[in-house]
């Protein structure tokens, strides 16, 4: 390369200019493609689904005789699965995170728990489906039921809860802990009064993310919770309610969508369900953002 004193205005060589323009074009092209894809996806779903969406569709149980279509059972099943899963997974996940950040001293044990958490996080849902079927439906005798579905989903959502809780526990300043222990508080007292209250936001974020995964999950629920489209009889009173929750099986929204599209070729209903799922996904995204932002502030 010769030392150049050429004018500063000479500009890039043709080759470099081509590289610059070409790469810039590629960057913008990929951005435009992805945005266009998403707009198309959302637009297409809304256009095909909204016309079929009505209050009746959302609020009634389908009936061939009365010629009524409705996804109320799917909505209620989804809600039950979400609640049942959270009730089980929340204490386990938060407890696990507390153990890891506050109690654990054995490095090998911590490594084992973290390895297990990572493994669960990377496991495809179809594996949870298989294991759910053998362990909860058959071995534990729950049969194909919402509760078996919830247990299977506990395996899937546990890493989410553990991770977000752990992250927020790590943001609690060490001085809070020391301050509490220095006053003579026991460890559990310290966790209960100082650590947990400061990490509520992280736990909430974890719950929201878990809800997102549960609502979006289909493979696991199809095999463990069943595909029924009828409203289970929930009966009166809390006792009967729980008893029925154990027994009844049914499709959640995603499974109902699969059912409409693949088994019945009722695409209007499938798209209408897709709109509902899209709205839920949107709300969950916003909620997670808000909770996450609050978490960051601390």
């Amino acid at each position: 390369m010769n030392r150049e004193s050429a004018s500063l205005t000479q500009g890039l060589s043709a080759r470099r200019r081509a590289y610059d323009i070409g790469m810039r074009a590629l960057l913008y092209a990929s951005a435009i493609i992805i945005c266009a894809l998403l707009l198309f996806l959302i637009g297409y779903i809304l256009v095909r689904g909204i016309p079929h969406l009505s209050w009746e569709f959302l609020s009634s149980e389908e009936s061939v005789i009365k010629n009524i279509e409705g996804i109320l059972p799917a909505l209620i099943n989804t809600l039950y699965v979400v609640i049942a899963t959270l009730i089980i997974v929340l204490p386990l996940g938060v407890g696990s995170a507390i153990y890891l950040t506050e109690y654990a001293t054995n490095k090998k044990l911590v490594a084992a728990i973290e390895f297990a958490t990572e493994t669960l996080a990377g496991m495809p849902s179809i594996i949870f489906a298989l294991v759910g079927v053998i362990v909860f439906c058959e071995f534990a005798g729950l049969g194909t039921s919402l509760l078996a579905g919830a247990f299977s989903l506990v395996m899937m959502t546990l890493p989410t809860i553990i991770r977000t809780t752990q992250e927020s526990l790590k943001t609690v300043p060490q001085s809070y802990r020391e301050g509490s222990l220095a006053l003579g508080a026991g460890k559990w007292h310290m966790v209960r009064t100082v650590v947990l209250p400061s990490s509520v936001d992280g736990i909430v974020t974890g719950c929201i993310l878990a809800v997102g995964r549960i609502v979006g999950e289909s493979a696991v629920l199809m095999f463990t919770a069943g595909m029924g489209m009828r409203l289970a009889k929930y009966g009166h009173g809390l006792g009967e309610f729980f008893k029925n929750l154990f027994d009844s099986s049914g499709a959640t929204l995603t499974v109902a969508l699969y059912n409409y599209a693949k088994e019945r070729a009722d695409f209007e209903s499938a798209f209408a369900v897709a709109v509902v799922l899209l709205v839920i996904a949107f709300i969950i995204n916003i909620a997670a953002k808000l909770a996450g932002r609050k978490l960051k502030k601390h």
Partner: protein, 256 residues
Amino acid sequence: MCDNNEKIIIESNKLNLYYGDNHALKDISFRIPSNRITALIGPSGCGKSTFLKTLNRMNDLVPGVKIEGQVMYNGEDIYSKAVDVTRLRRQIGMVFQKANPFPMSIYDNIAYGPRTHGVRNRAKLDEIVERSLRDAAIWEEVKDRLNKSALGLSGGQQQRICIARALAVEPDVLLMDESTSALDPISTSKIEELAMDLKSRYTVIMVTHNMQQALRISDYTAFFLLGELVEYGDTQTMFSKPTDKRTEDYITGRFG
């Protein structure tokens, strides 16, 4: 301000620079001679680094920056629209305060600039790499491990790799932004010697906090304070009899 027999390579006229509302450089008019070492001194935040970065337009990268006035390089206004910044930066090289070799091999670090500017021939690149490393006085230390990562070297070695990398594109001017401030005394003196060797072929402009350093190696010194160029002249003269009271105070260590 500067010896009239000198050939002037860079000249700024009424240069003003704003970061948003902050007026960081005020009416800087300054003539920098070719093939000399010019030191820019002054307390932190006085604008000397900022001024240095206007010379190769690295300030363009700061959001919200506004520059008024002229900087002439070999008679061309570097802030004119027609100027190609990449060509300017190739001719006015820069070595940073913190050694910043790329996370690549030593060879690839040095070859990065020439490759960017279109040198593909392996033999030619080998030659450039060796010459640049020799010029930066580090060839003997690294010639047996050119394919090892540059991040494995010591701080002083890394900084000389960065100087070699800057030399590899054959600049006319080398800007050094407190390039020895993070180094131990031995590495510092190596780089000072290097700078003195380099001035036969390059113009060196260096920002330094270290007044002994300015006195040891520079031909000219400029004193900046609060965004103004307070005093500029022959280094020996300026350190022995400064004309401005503020310069005297700074040099004698009354502030900064």
